[in-house]
């Protein structure tokens, strides 16, 4: 991620500023520093790779899907936030009849205020006590519109998956209308509890971010 590359860059600059009167000593110190920098970069890249795949090292993973079949729009956004405030955001949008979705990827770090807002949201008791997310039964026939929000939050050694499903229309005896009442209630409860997180997510998406040339990793899901 960008954050790791800039950290390595800082070390290189401080190393190059070392002064020594003896030329050979300077070369030795330079060599040692070069090796150290290379080792640091390797470690940083390794740690970054682990961050993307190790759920224990994430602060939260958020995913929002909205499918508007009436207007032929499928939008899927996801965001991975690391414990140090670095994030990876992917935004996809498919407008039919285009068979391909556009994809934009952003990588940056949260400012202190937004980072604290997120921590406060995640530490809220209501969110912590939400039931695990249950998906509806597939397929769902003839839904003009539906949306899915999911959040994965580490809780000790495991990752808690919360979320909800909202939709419009559909036959009453077909999924998702036919979903058991207790699951529907949990979706409603989760929708209310996750509203601050969704608003926060939309706030980050609304920022003027510079797109990155990083590859998609489905925000750590793959």
């Amino acid at each position: 991620m960008t954050r790791d590359r800039s950290a390595a860059s800082t070390i290189v600059q401080s190393g190059s500023g070392t002064k020594a009167s003896d030329a050979s000593l300077r070369i030795t110190i330079k060599q040692v520093l070069t090796v150290s920098v290379l080792l640091f970069i390797a470690c940083a890249q390794s740690a970054a790779a682990q961050d993307r795949t190790n759920h224990g090292a994430l602060l939260v993973r958020i995913s929002e899907v909205t499918i508007d079949n009436e207007h032929g729009v499928t939008a899927t956004d996801c965001m991975l936030v690391l414990p140090d405030g670095g994030f990876h955001l992917e935004r996809r949008k498919q407008k039919l009849p285009n068979p391909t979705a556009s994809l934009k990827i952003f990588e940056s770090s949260l400012d202190t205020e937004r980072f604290q807002q997120l921590r406060d949201i995640l530490n809220d008791d209501t969110l912590q006590n939400l039931p695990p997310y249950a998906l509806p039964t597939f397929p769902m026939n003839n839904l003009p519109w539906f949306s899915d929000l999911e959040a994965e939050i580490p809780r000790g050694p495991t990752v808690k998956r919360v979320g909800y499903w909202v939709w419009r229309g559909g036959a009453s005896d077909r999924s998702p209308n036919s979903t058991p009442d207790d699951i529907k209630r949990s979706w409603q409860e989760s929708e209310t509890a996750l509203r601050p997180l969704l608003d926060w997510f939309h706030g980050v998406e609304a920022l003027r971010l510079t797109s990155s040339d990083s590859k998609s990793n489905m925000c750590g899901a793959l």
Partner: protein, 267 residues
């Protein structure tokens, strides 16, 4: 050889019917003929035809052979879509200049490989997805005659080497089908890989004016929403497929058809 024996048997036993069952004159001593080597369809042609009609009086007939056989080798699926850790069978198909239309000739291709084994591997014509990405898979035939039907003193043998693209991605399941929900797209589907929250849609090129019908029962429960058109006695039912494959970045499908079309009572 089998044909030749039957042909000779026919002459020796006064069975003078041609291939269409028409009687040939009993004093027939010459005419056009065709030999086909039934034991080696791959070679496709014989470089020389020699038919001894009457050994007693030394009457022999020589003829030039016609080379014929499979024309161009093509992979059935291009691209071939696979999921990681999944496999798919590829087939080599060709038209045959000897007649018989489209044929599968995978048996004549003993050698298969891929350009990047980190993405896909090949075990004969079974291609296995290793990791997300795109690579080519290739096959090579045994030495055999490939080409159009033509007169020749010999039928040159060659080894065809067809290839096709292999796309390895993530599996998608049908999460919804929409019928007459959008005026521009009468029928379409939504597929997802729920674990990665990858969702993609596709409208199908179907005629307007169809009706929504529910067909079958899916593993997830409930019937599938399909689309049906009727022209006279010809009924065509379009149904979204249950499983698809999308690229690892979730921007497009990398398999071929998103629906099936079943016709009943159609010419």
């Amino acid at each position: 050889v089998a044909s030749w024996l039957a042909w000779q048997y026919g002459f020796r036993n006064q069975i003078h019917d041609d291939k269409d069952g028409h009687a040939m004159p009993v004093d027939l001593t010459s005419g056009a003929y065709r030999l086909r080597d039934l034991t080696d369809t791959a070679a496709g042609g014989l470089y020389e035809g020699k038919v001894i009609v009457d050994k007693t009086y030394g009457h022999a007939t020589y003829g030039c052979m016609i080379c014929c056989g499979p024309e161009f080798a093509l992979m059935e699926f291009d691209p071939l879509g696979l999921v990681v850790s999944g496999s798919g069978n590829q087939q080599v198909q060709t038209t045959n200049s000897c007649g018989g239309g489209q044929q599968t000739v995978s048996g004549d291709f003993p050698t298969w490989w891929t350009d990047n084994t980190a993405i896909a591997t090949a075990n004969r014509n079974q291609i296995h997805g290793v990791a997300s990405g795109t690579t080519n898979h290739n096959a090579q035939s045994i030495p055999m005659y490939w080409g159009f039907r033509e007169n020749a003193s010999s039928c040159p043998q060659s080894q065809q080497r067809p290839n096709a693209s292999t796309n390895v991605g993530q599996s998608m399941e049908l999460v919804g089908a929409t019928c007459n929900a959008n005026p521009s797209f009468p029928y379409g589907g939504n597929w997802a890989h729920p674990a990665s929250n990858c969702f993609l849609s596709e409208p199908f090129a179907v005629p307007n004016g169809g009706a929504c019908v529910e067909v079958g029962t899916l593993p997830g429960g409930g019937p599938k929403n399909c689309y049906q058109t009727k022209v006279g006695s010809c009924v065509t039912t379009y149904c979204a497929v249950n499983a698809r494959i999308a690229d690892s970045a979730c921007t497009r499908f990398i398999d071929q058809a998103g629906y099936t079309a079943t016709k009943v009572g159609c010419p």
